[in-house]
Symmetry: C2
Subunit: 227 residues, 2 copies
């Protein structure tokens, strides 16, 4: 498999984690977003909307270029079932998908590079205003994530189960693939998690970061990393 | 089932369509977003993040409050398989999910009510600037959707298949549940589709609008509709 991606892209990071958790080798093909490589003709032939990540799954088992990180991860989970990234029951899957979408639909889209560029360009916002925008939505989103985890832990406690190790249960899921890049990205933008009351979220994050699959997917471990 | 939702909420609209396509009856419980009912204590007990829609699936087959529209629709599809809202093959599911996420992760989150409120409030943007913001991201997103449909139609043609009737294939899918509310919402904001080159997207939209399941989910058909 080949992964068209960018070291700092949070959505690329999600797919790198999933590939590592599945133990799948892949060829890393960098697309330099900050330099605008995604808008060039060469990359537009791969991704008509100029977005990363794109996974070329030639022979695994289909011949196809796949886009949208959550769709890619579900595809990997269906075609390479072990270890599973979604629970076996419909309710569990609904919970994990809702957690993933709390990051992927409520936080990330509002704060990615193209949005920040538009705020700075056509709308002429200052760097301080953009930082405030970024922090506002990440804080709101992670507080929402925390409330979900709290509800889920209460459900587990009511059933006599111990607290989850990761976002949902005792193994990493699609939710963790989305959470970890968001937390890492927030740190890069200077967000201070110490004054944000999200203990369950940070505990799940820390548990993930103890796994090699997450560590190897980190932006600073990527071949195109810049310091 | 009970659906906590709002007539103008695009994500609520998606779930109403899915429930109708599945032939499932539900109790419509309005949450008036424009008046801020989602922030009240009563609704916060239902949805800790104050978002609609929330589906109470008591007894179908779980006892649970579900959130995040795409996660809800996948749950409905798994627990009430007929008619399917996702294709039977992994590649088809990846395609449909990517289409749905093109709307749900690239267009809707940037343009929903809370974002437009923040642009007008803390950032002090004028109504004209907000309209330009809205139109910019909807146009970009629908053009991306169109490019995906074009690629998919080319794949079908290469396999000797006729063009898709809906976004993907001959029956409505999760992708159409997301597309239709976005197109309707754009119209409400005055977006002129006549000067946007998205013929395949509008053909899929028109096909959906010929179905009663989509018509009955329209905002102006909701019990809380305002004119």
């Amino acid at each position: 498999m080949k992964l068209y991606n960018y070291f700092r892209s949070g959505t690329s990071f999600r797919v790198r984690i999933a590939l590592n958790l599945k133990g799948l080798n892949y060829e890393y093909l960098p697309v330099h977003l900050a330099r605008g490589e995604q808008h060039g003709a060469a990359y537009r032939a791969i991704s008509p909307d100029g977005l990363v990540p794109v996974l070329d799954v030639a022979g695994n088992p289909d011949e196809a270029l796949l886009s949208q990180s959550m769709a890619i991860i579900e595809y990997l989970d269906e075609t390479h079932p072990e270890p599973p990234l979604l629970p076996a029951d419909a309710l569990g899957r609904a919970r994990v998908r809702a957690l993933a979408q709390t990051v992927a639909c409520e936080i990330h889209p509002i704060n990615n590079l193209r949005i920040l560029k538009y705020l700075g360009g056509p709308l002429g916002l200052s760097e301080a205003q953009r930082a405030e925008w970024y922090n506002h939505w990440v804080r709101e989103g992670l507080l929402a994530y925390e409330r979900r985890l709290r509800d889920l832990q209460a459900e587990r406690a009511a059933r006599g189960l111990p607290p989850s190790v990761y976002s949902y249960g005792d193994t990493p899921t699609l939710a963790d693939c989305c959470l970890v890049p968001q937390v890492v990205n927030g740190r890069r933008f200077g967000l201070d998690y110490a004054d944000l009351d999200i203990p369950l979220t940070l505990a799940a994050f820390d548990a993930c970061m103890r796994l090699d699959a997450f560590q190897r997917a980190m932006p600073d471990r990527c071949p195109d990393a810049e310091r």
